[in-house]
Amino acid sequence: MAKKIAALALLLAVALGVAIGGPTQGTINRNDNHNNEVRVPSSKEPGVPGENDEFVIECRANQRTSILIRGDHTPVTELEVLVYEMARDKAEGKLVARDKGTGDLIGAVWIPAKTAQYRIVIRNPAPFSQENPYNRCYVTIK
């Protein structure tokens, strides 16, 4: 009987972990349906990448959180993602995860040390042009 209760408790704990992992608001999936994609502006100055920092999410302490980003491939560019733990005064705070170097399919995983707001910055170094004003990104945060 005790074993059954322990097994049930374990199952519940696993299920709860799945349910509450990632952002407090739940999984975020932004894609190209209904213009719901994330637009990361192209670089307007050499050496200064365009940035999108629209994602400020609350994450729970010790819950694995991840972000996956896929660019529009037109053209493939070296996207970069940076994740900052925001300070109480809303300053950018500490860099907790980053990724680049695999074209426009990138991602990062972090385990928040505390429940806090996290700012996600996506950078696009491709030069601005009328044909390529931004990169349409597919983004999943969970």
């Binding site: 799945v18 999984t27 999936n29 996956l68 170097g101 399919l105 991602g107 995983v109 969970k142």
Partner: protein, 119 residues
């Protein structure tokens, strides 16, 4: 003299050879058949983060599994109950030298065209 020259060249070439090993694996999009898998290896540098990503087309669930050189599964991402069940990422920090085998598995009965990379 020639022996020293050859030895010097070998020493100089070693980092280049190692650097080739740690280039990311960035394939063209590929299709994984029902319950099939695609695998690659990642060299892994002790103390440094490695990671693998897959984004599928939404038709079936995907999973990523990472095995060390002894065959132990050291990282995975495969929760089929996820709202987005074929966007996967695993990240691990090698405690010892690799190689690490990364498997991208199709967990469903249909085809899934996925984009993936690993480094």
């Amino acid at each position: 003299m020639r022996r020293w020259t050859v030895l010097s060249l070998l020493i100089l070439a070693t980092p280049l050879a190692l650097a080739q090993d740690i280039r990311p694996w960035v394939p063209e999009p590929f299709t994984i058949g029902p319950y099939g898998s695609v695998q690659t290896t990642v060299a892994g540098v002790p103390g440094q983060e490695s990671r693998a990503i897959a984004i599928g087309n939404g038709h079936t669930a995907l999973g990523i599994y990472v095995f060390d050189h002894q065959g132990h599964c050291i990282a995975f991402d495969d929760e089929p109950a996820d709202v987005v069940y074929d966007d996967r990422i695993v990240s691990w920090i090698a405690t010892a030298a690799g190689p690490f085998e990364v498997q991208f598995r199709n967990l469903g009965a249909g085809f899934n065209r996925a984009e993936a990379n690993a480094k």
